[in-house]
């Protein structure tokens, strides 16, 4: 009987035919980041289940996580790619509000939800493009550039709205509202599905597409990327545009959930979003990172607040424990990845 699969090609390196244990070890090395963050998540979950079984063994708490975590998760995922490419964006909280300003004005004056949605995305994409041009074309460090644009877009929002909010109550009961933040089958918040979609899309873009390959190269060794013919400015600009689109989208999710647009929208999202990216194992130096890591980290960050209160500590503990988890797990990741490679 002919069984080609059992034949060993003499030219093949021995590693391919290594015992399963070695293969497992290699898998562990390659996915150390992801395994590490999953382990952290598991430990925290077990602590919460033991500390507050009645809360953490019921579905309600998970529904709550799935409704609020997506607000920053949909931004943390594209931010992961930006950080892998060696850049940062601090302007997204303001871009959330800028997108919603465009949304509200279009809705008030045109009355079309679809048009308003497009206006929000165009505004977000535009804000991202501005960041991209300043950073990639003019060579201003993104840390500085996006601090500047953060103030600028917030200013634009405050000036145009006069500091007044807009009620989005009329959008309730529309298909648009249900698609964005409704409860699928009465159980799963729609924004959770958007987040999963975003995670899958970003993961494919990063790991299975030429664009993602270039994102890694730009972040790892920008000079070599240039020498090998990668269009570095174009890649970076596109990353900032994606970030702007995602921020406008997040702003829309948050505002629809509370059916009100506040011009201060976005405040409080800056640090949780960035913390999720780094907690997820993406290197601040660029070149490595994982969308799965960010996805899991978002839910760790999102769960801690509720979890701490549920196990009987006061909310004052939240920040202390945030800090502890971030510092410990980022340190662990760095030490482990040095040991393993």
């Amino acid at each position: 009987m002919n069984r080609p699969s059992s034949r060993v090609d003499a030219g093949e390196p021995a590693a391919i035919n290594a015992p399963a244990g070695a293969g497992l070890a290699r898998f562990g090395r390659q996915h150390a980041l992801q395994i590490g963050i999953l382990a952290v998540a598991l430990v925290i979950w077990i602590v919460f289940v033991i500390g507050a079984p009645s809360t953490f063994l019921s579905y309600d708490i998970y529904q709550a996580f799935m409704s609020t975590t997506p607000f920053f998760a949909v931004m943390a995922l594209p931010l992961t790619l930006l950080v892998i490419a060696g850049e940062i964006d601090l302007s997204f909280p303001s871009v959330m509000a800028f997108g919603m300003t465009a949304f509200s004005f279009t809705l008030v004056y045109r009355g079309s939800l679809l048009l308003a949605f497009l206006a929000a995305e165009v505004a977000g994409g535009l804000a991202g493009l501005v960041n991209g041009v300043i950073v990639a074309r003019w060579g201003i460090p993104s840390l500085v550039a996006t601090i500047g644009t953060q103030f600028f877009w917030r200013g634009v929002v405050l000036v145009t709205t006069g500091g007044n909010g807009v009620s989005l109550l009329p959008t309730r009961e529309t298909l648009f509202y249900t698609t964005m933040v409704g409860r699928v089958l009465g159980l799963i918040p729609a924004q959770m599905l958007w987040t999963i979609f975003m995670a899958v899309f970003m993961s494919l873009l990063l790991n299975r597409h030429r664009f993602g390959a270039h994102v890694y190269l730009v972040g790892d060794n920008i000079e070599s990327a240039r020498l090998m013919g990668v269009n570095v400015p174009q890649r970076k600009m596109l990353l900032f545009v994606i970030m702007g689109l995602a921020a406008a989208f997040a702003g829309l999710l948050v505002s629809l959930e509370v059916t009100y647009f506040w011009p201060t929208l976005g405040d409080g999202y800056l640090l949780t979003t960035i913390a999720s990216v780094f907690l997820g194992g993406t290197s601040v130096f660029g070149g490595t990172g994982s969308t799965l890591g960010t996805f899991v980290a978002c839910f760790i960050i999102g769960a801690i607040n509720a979890g701490i209160v549920a196990i009987g500590l006061t909310g004052f503990w939240t920040q202390l424990i945030y800090g502890l988890i971030i510092v410990v797990s980022v340190t662990l990741q760095t030490v482990l990845s040095k040991k393993l490679t």
């Binding site: 093949e12 590693a15 190269l217 070599s224 240039r226 020498l227 090998m228």
Partner: protein
């Protein structure tokens, strides 16, 4: 007479006030290996970065490839035509897998840009066995950071050969290598000629350049200061001439060893 593979004519390049190249004429024939020598700041790097499309020459300079004038050369265009540069370790991405480095900037992908990772891994594995002579400890997934200097240089050179480059430019390929690794790198360079391709070999070390090239061009402060056929000059004679060139215009010692 056959047409030169590459010809650079009257090429100058200024960076602000600094004139890095002043009217350089330079050529490479088919299946020829040219050694490019010169002190730091002589213009070697600038010249090759013009040839690879990284820098654009000042107006007036012209570049011909296989007899055709080339306007607006870019890195992507140069690679597409068959000009491939091997920059020391500078052009490897340390934290990425070997296969990502081999296909850097030239990934195998569908028209929509979806990567064919399986094929890139298989090609890398094949190259490792056939061309690089790597041990089994290295797989296509190995992170380049963990490889030795010689292995890394091998990756950079094999990458150029794989893409069927007509002209391979080696920028100080022996820098920082051990004696045995240097021999390995020099063997790679001899392999380029055997494969019928051409190369430009840039190095400080005349003892590395001399044995593997056909012709030697010496740059000094942005000008071509001398040109010798390898068969017409001895190693001693060449060292002498390099010293002379260095002395004539500047007090800097020429780093011959």
């Amino acid at each position: 007479m056959s047409v030169n593979l590459l010809e650079v004519s009257h090429v100058s390049k200024s960076f602000g006030e600094v004139k890095a190249l002043r009217g350089v004429n330079f050529y490479v024939q088919q299946n020829e290996c040219v050694g490019l020598l010169g002190d730091n700041g002589a213009g070697k790097s600038t010249l090759i970065k013009i040839i690879t499309g990284y820098h654009r020459p000042d107006p007036g300079g012209r570049i011909f490839f296989q007899g055709q004038p080339i306007e607006h050369l870019t890195v992507a265009r140069a690679r597409q035509m068959g000009i491939e540069a091997v920059y020391q370790e500078k052009a490897l991405a340390d934290q990425q897998a070997l296969w990502r480095n081999v296909f850097m900037g030239r990934e195998i992908a569908t028209r929509l840009g979806v990567l064919d990772i399986r094929r890139m891994r298989e090609e890398t594995r094949r190259l490792m066995v056939e061309r690089m002579g790597f041990t089994s400890a290295i797989t296509p997934e190995t992170m380049v950071r963990t490889m030795s200097g010689g292995e890394r240089q091998g990756v950079a050179i094999v990458r150029a050969l794989y893409f069927q480059a007509e002209l391979i430019i080696l920028d100080e390929p022996t820098m920082g290598l051990s004696v045995s690794e240097t021999q390995k790198a020099l063997d790679f360079i001899r392999g380029i000629k055997t494969a019928g391709k051409s190369c430009i070999f840039i190095d400080h070390n005349v003892f590395h350049v001399y044995p593997v090239v056909d012709r030697i061009v010496i740059l000094d402060r942005g000008r071509v200061a001398g040109e010798f056929l390898r068969d017409r000059v001895t190693l001693d004679g060449l060292t002498q001439k390099l010293r002379l060139i260095a002395q004539r215009g500047s007090l800097n010692d020429f780093p011959v060893a």
